[in-house]
Symmetry: C2
Subunit: 295 residues, 2 copies
């Protein structure tokens, strides 16, 4: 997904939020925004918003010395989600279709996104995610791919959300799948890193690798060769959230995007209403017979 005019405004909002978390010095905040403006002024046609988001955090680090302004918030949301975990686990055990319920919860977890800056009520989000109709629902197709898959690559997104991912991954492990979980290669807004995977116990149940980059999404051209190898050889990929969709929507599948379309532009790209729940399975090369770059 290329940067739209709306993305530019959104990136400045994010830069302002991140700056304010990193420093109270208005002069420094302004300097950061000015430097961001300089980056935006030189944008290349094909730049993806998450690349700029990564650069913003880099600039904040360079100018304030604070490389992880969301550290406290990330811990807080991991803790909040960990506290909910036992109750959600129970809920799953009683579910008619535990896999689908786990998918719904994993999408609920995707709401925990400070990148968007709005308040939310997690309990309400969970209730809504359990009952709301999907706007894209490739579940049958997903079950079919899952049945044939041995190795799964699960690309995570935010802190807090990572605990919800763990519930879905436990469900996948119970079905005998081999899962590798992916976190960001460095601090990027509130996204989960190795530290968070360790903190929530993800490392105890599956192998955890990183994308190799400190951006709030996944872009193959910049990712580590280790990640790319995993990406290319996995039988099925699950990618959470908007940041991963932004960077991977033009890549050949098989990728299952699980997300809530929080941003209007991503909703438009997917042909759904803002706020829609999405389980979108993008077919791979083998299935569609060609590399589908337009969907």
């Amino acid at each position: 997904m290329k940067i739209s005019p709306d993305c530019i405004v959104c990136l400045f909002q994010q830069a302002l939020r991140t700056s304010k978390l990193a420093t109270e010095d208005e002069g420094l905040q302004r300097k950061i925004l000015t430097r961001v403006a300089n980056e935006i002024a030189q944008l290349e046609e094909e730049t993806i918003p998450i690349e700029v988001a990564g650069r913003i955090q880099e600039l904040v680090g360079e100018l304030t010395g604070v490389t992880d302004p969301y550290q406290d918030a990330k811990r807080r949301y991991n803790d909040l989600a960990l506290k909910l975990y036992p109750r959600l686990k129970e809920l799953l055990e009683g579910a008619e279709d535990p896999l689908l319920t786990a998918i719904r919860l994993a999408i609920a977890g995707n709401i925990i996104d400070f990148g968007l800056g709005s308040e939310f009520d997690l309990e309400q989000v969970i209730q809504e995610s359990l009952t709301r109709e999907f706007s894209i629902f490739d579940y049958e197709f997903f079950l079919e791919k899952l049945a044939a898959a041995e190795s799964l690559l699960y690309i995570g997104d935010n802190t807090g959300e990572i605990v919800f991912d763990k519930l879905l991954i436990e469900e996948l492990l119970r079905r005998g799948k081999q899962v590798t979980y992916v976190v960001r290669g460095g601090s990027a807004i509130n996204d989960a890193t190795l530290e968070d995977a360790r903190y929530v116990g993800m490392e105890k149940i599956v192998r955890v690798i990183t994308t190799g980059t400190a951006i709030p999404g996944t872009i193959l051209k910049d990712a580590s060769s280790d990640f790319v190898t995993h990406f290319q050889t996995a039988d099925l990929i699950i990618a959470k959230g908007q940041g991963n969709f932004e960077g991977l929507d033009d890549e050949p599948g098989p990728i299952t995007f699980l997300l809530k379309a929080k941003c209007t532009l991503i909703a438009n790209e997917l042909g759904v209403e803002p706020g829609a729940m999405v389980l979108y399975l993008k077919p791979g090369i083998k299935e569609s017979g060609f590399i589908d770059n337009n969907n």
Copy 2:
């Protein structure tokens, strides 16, 4: 008022709104925002937000050929206010203190500001402005200055609002004052220009001049010498709205600022809550004995 980090985000929001009004071409919109980023990257320390706002509209004109994207909106709000005029005139005639009621209405008119992008209910705004307590209320001081003043310079702000200004000016004329009304020197967001002064009949009741600049506020260093002469020789100045406050708050008085503090930063500058109604009379050199640059 210097540009704060928050102003930078606000200016990009404004650039996006103006771009979308001027063209549906996303490529062009993005080009405009990129050029705005280039301006922001090179900001001088002392630049005032309204200067950048003026430059944004200039850029939109250069890149799209549309020099007045708010033309339709401006006409619509002039018409809306003109339709209300007879009823407001009646209201004034029955008022206990017609001057104060006219001031309240003039502030109500100040809500009509597309620069902020939010919806509003004009009727409700009028009711609120008639009853809400002022957060700064230098009315006695204003009456004193007014009694001694022969010539008044009234610096307008937005379209629509200009009709509300007319009510207050008629009240001032009734008291035997000589009033000169000031509009912007060219299209600047939804601000009133000579065309609007003509359209609402302001030219029929007072002399109308312009600031000489196409920015949504007043900055003496850039204004025409004709305007500056009027500014320096008027016995009393009335300046409407945030854009005039931004540019004139460091100038020596006597200036009466009439505004609703719509933006948090301006509210902070004035020491009031956002949304507050303000009648703030800044003393002149003669009164205070020195040029007060800090308030």
